[in-house]
């Protein structure tokens, strides 16, 4: 087994569990980001943590440099999405193109049977095929960002900590005396330095433009410094509150027009969400199938129906920002992830 070890507690325990289960384990840390960052999973300090854990577990450890692929498949699309006014989720692109493609292929090429990561989700074998299921800890479940895994990836993937809660993972790490036991969870986008933030990162790579904030009648109500950073549904930082005193939300982001339209929370409600090309864990649901649809990494899954590239909500829901993934679960087996797709249109 080739275990992707980020230097965090989850992947440390994942490696330890596989060894306990009797697998032959080799650790590998992916160096994905070559630029400056102080928060990501690619700092020298994190690689050292991964290496020290591997030493402690008595397994070999390698570092794979996939910085070019990461630039091409994760960073560039992230920048392009913001430049177009979308709200990307780079973790999904990284799982799709790096961890469960480039890294998985590298592992198979080197003769490993499978790769493992420290993600909180579960892979289950059933007569009908491989299932991707939510992790045991609802607060830490990462099936949302793994929905891009299909049968061929799941057949070669182990997620050993998916059966544990985060507290149990930390407990195992403490019991094993792993140096990463109390390391804080990773936050935010790994390749963006906390010191400069998203704003500075994008400003250096694409233009950020001030925009007018208008209400639904077109009347100006304020300004924002960077239209590229406004997300549909966002409430803060949209200039002065309107005369009505009600909270205002971004309901439309028009980057070329340098305009953000705001409205009340009712204006955000939509009967459906339009999706781009989907990715299915197993087969596609039939049109009209009931689904639970989740529109953010840790948001609620709401009931709806899958209909030819759209989810029709049972109750109107807050608009999903374009670029965000909508991930579908089986209402009869709510831990089972069916797959998902990116929201394409406002609405």
């Amino acid at each position: 087994m080739l275990v992707g070890m980020s230097g965090g507690v989850d992947s440390s325990v994942a490696a330890a569990l596989l060894i306990e289960q009797g697998h032959e384990v080799v650790g590998a840390t992916l160096k994905l980001w070559g630029g400056a960052s102080d928060s990501g999973c690619c700092s020298v300090a994190d690689v050292e943590d991964a290496r020290r854990v591997a030493q402690q577990l008595g397994v070999a450890h390698h570092v794979f440099s996939f910085t070019d692929d990461f630039d091409e498949h994760v960073v560039a699309p992230y920048v392009a999405a913001h430049a177009a006014g979308r709200t990307p989720n780079p973790c999904i692109d990284c799982n799709r193109h790096l961890k469960f493609d480039r890294f998985l292929r590298r592992g198979l090429l080197l003769g490993f049977d499978a790769v493992a990561t420290g993600h909180h989700a579960r892979v289950a074998a059933t007569p009908a095929g491989w299932q991707l299921r939510r992790g045991a800890d609802p607060a830490k479940d990462q099936s949302y960002v793994l929905h891009v895994l299909g049968q061929s990836q799941l057949a070669r993937t182990l997620l050993p900590v998916g059966d544990l809660t985060k507290d149990e993972v930390r407990g195992r790490a403490v019991a094993l005396g792993l140096r990463t036991a109390t390391k804080p969870d990773s936050q935010d986008v790994c390749f963006i330095a906390a010191s400069g933030g998203r704003n500075a990162f994008l400003a250096a790579r694409t233009g950020l433009h001030a925009a007018e904030v208008v209400d639904r009648t077109g009347a100006p109500v304020g300004r924002v410094d960077a239209v590229e950073l406004v997300t549909v549904g966002q409430r803060r930082g949209l200039g002065a509150a309107g005369g009505t005193g009600r909270p205002r939300y971004a309901i439309e982001v028009d980057v070329p027009g340098r305009r953000v339209v705001v409205g009340g929370s009712d204006d955000l409600l939509r009967p459906a969400v339009d999706l781009g090309p989907p990715s299915w864990v197993g087969g596609a649901p039939i049109d009209g199938a009931d689904v639970l649809a989740q529109a953010s990494a840790h948001g609620p899954a709401r009931p709806g129906a899958w209909m030819n590239g759209r989810v029709l909500w049972r109750q109107p829901q807050r608009a999903v920002a374009p670029g965000q993934a909508v991930v579908l679960y089986d209402p009869t087996d709510p831990d089972r992830c069916l797959g998902g797709a990116e929201c394409t249109l406002f609405g």
Binding site: A60, H62, F64, S65, T67, L110
Partner: protein
């Protein structure tokens, strides 16, 4: 208790350009200074004098092998410090500019960049491009204080014609001094002759059978140099800090032995490298030597293996106990496309198929044959997909 994932004694070690096994004689010479003769050579009493004697004798030995006066040897904590002292020290003393080719070791390259120096192109063989160097010196007319060109490249092994470099420098920048990073060359080349035109020479002990963390910078008399490390004024005020007595003694012992064995070891290792190269060409196929072997140090075999990413190749070789390298390892241990190959004009994708097998005095024919067989097995696996 740390666990080793392999037994170094059972390995086929072909990474001698990274570091070499410590010579038994060096270890034996060092032991007294790690135990009974622990004195600080800067003191005035008998314990100090015993340590001082050892450092002075080591200095004589090093000076003899390198072809300089004992007073011109400045002991440092290795090659990187020697390179930094040369570049930063001359620039600080003169206010002039530093110039180096793009394929230098990072210890030189980053030092030159840190003081706002000029980096000039390298030739397709990894050595300095003399025309580009001359052009840069003309362009910076009168302001160049130091030109640094390595005696032999650490990655691909190409030897630099230092006399030709010195002639260009004397012609185009007569006020400038020549520094050479001879860290890779020192174990294989007669620096008395080869580095004679250089005013400053960097050497590291661990590349030639000495311990890590010690080396020297030769500073020929009259060379302008300001210290980088300030303190007690050791090494005639050129490098402060208590002497690493055991390291210095081990360094001198290893350097002297390397010089004594040079002709014999060079011929033997050269023959083994030819055998390894032939075997790779036949058994692996799709193998391109990055520089002509006759231009490289005896132990260096740097090749590109078509369709085989270096990073994956190294894992497969390591798995069967063959230790090699690819490109230059960065701080995290990842393999990055080598700046040397990029400077040589090798496309990035091809640079990532690099494999450096570096032989040393302990390499055997069995090692070479095992490495070729392992590389063949690894390549066929990597190409099967």
């Amino acid at each position: 208790m740390a666990v080793l994932d392999h037994d170094p004694c059972g390995s086929v070690y072909l990474d001698n350009a990274a570091t070499t096994p410590l010579r038994a004689e060096a270890l034996a010479a060092m032991m007294p200074f790690l135990t009974d003769r622990f004195g600080n050579p800067s003191g005035g009493h008998r314990v100090a004098r015993a340590a001082r004697l050892a450092v002075d004798e080591a200095r004589d030995d090093v000076a003899d092998v390198l072809g300089c006066q004992p007073g011109e040897v400045v002991f440092t904590a290795g090659g990187t410090e020697a390179d930094n002292l040369a570049i930063l020290g001359v620039v600080a003393a003169t206010g002039g500019k530093a110039v180096c080719p793009a394929a230098e070791h990072h210890a030189v390259l980053h030092s030159v960049q840190a003081v706002g120096g000029r980096v000039v192109g390298a030739g397709a063989d990894g050595a300095v491009d003399l025309d580009q160097l001359a052009g840069a010196l003309d362009d910076l007319t009168g302001t160049v204080a130091i030109v640094s060109t390595m005696a032999a490249n650490n990655e691909v092994g190409t030897m630099t014609p230092l006399a030709e470099v010195a002639a260009v420098v004397a012609d185009r920048a007569p006020g400038a001094v020549l520094h050479t990073d001879a860290v890779q060359a020192a174990g294989w080349c007669d620096l008395r002759r080869l580095a004679a035109p250089a005013a400053l020479i960097s050497v590291a002990a661990h590349k030639l059978g000495g311990p890590k963390g010690v080396g020297c910078l030769v500073v020929r008399d009259g060379t302008p140099l300001r210290p980088v490390l300030h303190g007690g004024g050791q090494e005639r005020d050129r490098r402060s800090g208590t002497h690493n007595v055991a390291g210095i003694v081990g360094f001198a012992t290893a350097l002297r032995l390397a010089a004594e064995e040079r002709d014999e070891a060079g011929a033997r290792v050269r023959a083994l490298r030819a055998r390894l190269c032939d075997r790779l060409m036949v058994q692996v196929g799709g193998v391109v030597a990055s520089v002509p072997l006759e231009r490289a140090l005896p132990g260096h075999l740097h090749v590109r293996v078509t369709e085989c990413e270096g990073e994956a190749m190294l894992v497969l070789l390591d798995d069967v106990g063959v230790c090699a390298s690819a490109g230059s390892a960065c701080a995290s241990g990842a393999v990055e496309p080598s700046h040397v190959l990029l400077a040589m004009g090798v496309p990035k994708a091809e640079a990532l198929t690099s494999l450096r097998l570096s032989l040393g005095r302990t390499t055997s024919q069995a090692d070479v044959d095992a490495a070729a067989a392992a590389a063949a097995a690894a390549a066929s696996r990597l190409r099967a997909r």
